[in-house]
């Protein structure tokens, strides 16, 4: 295994002025991860789930340059509506300004660095730091500095606004942001994944909305365990969720054979996204009230048979790196990394805006009882991820390679589903996820370019 230490960061990651500050070589060290991911052979070194230094490198090279999910547009109705979240481990405020534009700012006062907003969401005219009272408006501008006379002539408030996320874009109601000033557009980064996302987001012209609130909970596991599973792992369903499938089956005795043995496809994206779904003409929404309401003919007309038979009514998906969703439940979630060993899960339920209230309510209850921290499916996912993580620090354990070889060489263009797809039961999207991770981890980000 080769492991080299690369040169240090050489330029500020944001446009905020930093005067004469220069980070010394050696403060930040990058490791060559080529020997930790064998995406072609389907092998992974468990150090990628446990190593603190690799984790710090992920924050710099995987999270900072990527498009990260922030919120749903429905959370912002009026100027001043805000929602606080994280990009990697960086706290951000997402808000609607007076021009009704969605902006995102680093939630950290430019003076001593405290958060300027400590509410989860709400509506406000400005964000005032509780430490010394620096106050910022909805554009992020510094509008008030108590005792400003004490600062030198050279102090200009316009230099000390909140650090703005340079790019915030939406895709059919989903808001993403990236710190990378040179990033490709969100739409370009999604590529063919957008076709699969539309199966959840584009049932009609009215689009989707969020049902009030966010489920938030923590679990001991590396963020990639969850992101990877939603990208590539239908395989776990029959075993991990055996009890849930059993109680949901009509007989209550065992899962229906047609569920266990159903075939399908798995989308494998070159940018690390992934989506898997059974394919069947009778695939349908699981909540009976939703199933009875939706007009499958209209959906076939709008989105085509392939999408209705496949990703519209079942399956799993991840938008690289850490946004995942379940189309049939309208469960969307972000896996916030909290160190290499912990995830904070934030999950929303989205529904079609056009659905009657009782259909929305049926979907909400169905989602609450199946997914989310008390859901009969999701309880067992959390158990498995924390299990994988809890023993991964053993020296011998950590060095035993993990197997990602299912469906190797099965990737192809099948003419029905866009892009490259594999079988329903496959690790193909997982291999692509880790190949993308490896590429980003070994590529200097914009903030590492020589400023000269």
């Amino acid at each position: 295994m080769t492991s080299t230490i690369e040169p240090a960061t050489s330029r500020a990651a944001t446009t905020a002025p930093s005067g004469a500050l220069r980070r010394p070589d050696g403060l930040i060290r990058n490791l060559d991860v080529a020997g930790l991911v064998d995406a072609e052979g389907g092998l992974l070194d468990r150090a990628i789930f446990t190593d603190e230094q690799l984790y710090r490198q992920e924050l710099r090279r995987v999270f900072a340059p990527s498009w990260l999910f922030l919120a749903h547009t429905h959370q912002f109705q009026k100027p001043g509506d805000f929602f606080t979240t994280y990009m990697g481990e960086d706290p951000v405020i997402v808000t609607m300004n007076k021009d009704r534009e969605i902006k995102a700012f680093l939630n950290s006062c430019r003076h001593r660095g405290a958060r300027v907003c400590r509410a989860d969401s709400g509506r406000t005219k400005n964000f005032t730091c509780t430490y010394h009272g620096w106050a910022y408006d909805l554009q992020g501008g510094l509008v008030s500095v108590p005792n400003q006379d004490g600062y030198p002539e050279s102090f200009r408030r316009e230099d000390w606004g909140l650090v703005e996320v340079p790019h915030v874009e939406t895709y059919k109601g989903l808001i993403f942001g990236t710190w990378n000033p040179e990033s490709v557009s969100l739409r370009e980064s999604l590529g063919d994944m957008a076709w699969y996302m539309d199966a959840m987001l584009d049932h009609d012209d009215e689009g989707t909305e969020v049902i009030g609130g966010v489920h938030k909970w923590v679990l001991d596991g590396n963020w990639k365990l969850a992101a990877e599973q939603f990208a590539t792992d239908w395989y776990h369903v029959n075993m991990s969720h055996a009890s849930a499938l059993q109680v949901m089956s009509p007989t209550g005795k065992k899962p229906k054979d047609e569920i266990v043995h159903r075939t399908g496809r798995q989308y494998v994206d070159p940018n690390g996204h992934g989506a898997g779904f059974p394919v069947h003409p009778k695939n349908r929404f699981d909540a009976p009230t939703v199933h009875e309401h939706v007009d499958y003919d209209a959906l076939r007309e709008r989105l085509g048979d392939a999408r209705v038979d496949g990703p519209l009514t079942n399956g799993h998906a991840t938008v690289f790196p850490n946004f995942s969703y379940l189309p049939v439940n309208g469960s969307i979630r972000i896996w916030h990394p909290k160190g290499p060993n912990q995830i904070e899960v934030w999950a929303w339920t989205i529904v079609d805006r056009s659905w009657p209230d009782e259909v929305k309510e049926a979907q909400r209850r169905y989602n609450l009882r199946t997914f989310g921290p008390s859901g009969i499916f999701e309880q067992d996912d959390g158990e498995n991820w924390s299990e994988c993580q809890s023993i991964a620090h053993g020296f011998i354990t950590n060095g035993v390679a993990l197997n990602y070889q299912m469906g190797i060489d099965s990737e192809r263009e099948d003419g029905r589903f866009p892009g490259v797809t594999s079988e329903l039961y496959s690790d193909a999207a997982g291999r692509a996820f880790y190949a993308r991770w490896r590429t980003l981890m070994n590529t200097p980000a914009w903030h590492e370019e020589d400023p000269s």
Binding site: R118, A119, D120, S121, G122, R123, T124, I211, G212, G213, V214, H215, K216, W217, V218, L219, D220, M239, S240, A242, S243, A244, Q246, V247, G252, E344, T349, E361, R364, R365, L368, R369, G372, P373, S374, I376, E378, Q379, D380, G382, E383, N384, W385, S386
Partner: protein, 196 residues
């Protein structure tokens, strides 16, 4: 004890010592059943038309505190009927509910019990023989080797007296409504696999 005759003047009043004792013993029995994993027996303490709700809590600016508890129809950890609780409980008997296999060890502590006679004029959907009860809980969970969780919060219950077929109140209590407020924002647990 005589519970069958309630004059209207007791509506909204703090219940007497005997009733407080009775309700506390009811809760201790309930806690015992949950800690012993006797979920089917626990279900018998719940009314058939049970409303069991546990909303999420959010951090809000002080002037927007009214929004800090998710409303009905918004995000919740539980929003259950007796039937859906039975559905969740059947899962544990499958032998494949991995989040509880091997089972966790839990300890349900119930304190600060405050019992009032229901006031139909004030509380929606209650009768004068119902009891409106607030209590605090601390639930400890130990799981596998070292995992520990503490869930703290408040319950607001409507307890109902069972009526025998002959119309004479038979005295036993059931939970008809339970609103559970967990004192956590981000749930410090990988799941909620127990009940409160």
């Amino acid at each position: 004890m005589t519970h069958s005759v309630l004059d209207g003047t007791r509506a909204g009043q703090l219940a007497d010592r005997d009733i407080h004792f009775e309700v506390e013993q009811f809760y201790y029995r309930e806690a015992e059943l949950l800690d012993d994993g006797r979920y089917a027996d626990w279900l018998e303490l719940l009314a058939d038309d049970l409303d069991y709700w546990m909303p999420t809590r959010t951090n809000r600016l002080r002037r927007q505190q009214a929004l800090s508890i998710a409303a009905r129809g918004e995000a919740g950890f539980y929003d259950e009927t007796k039937e859906s609780l039975a559905w969740r409980i059947r899962r544990f008997d499958s032998g494949m509910a991995w989040a509880e296999d091997p089972p966790s060890r839990t300890r349900h502590l119930v304190t600060n019990v405050r019992v009032r006679h229901a006031s139909p004029a004030v509380d929606e959907g209650v009768t004068e023989s119902d009891l409106v009860v607030k209590s605090n809980f601390l639930v400890y969970r130990s799981r596998l080797e070292r995992e520990e969780n503490v869930f703290a919060g408040q319950r607001a219950d409507v307890l109902r007296r069972l009526t025998a077929p002959d119309g004479v109140t038979d005295g036993r209590l059931q939970v008809a409504r339970r609103e559970i407020l967990l004192d956590a924002n981000v749930l410090q647990s990988k799941n909620i696999s127990t009940f409160f």
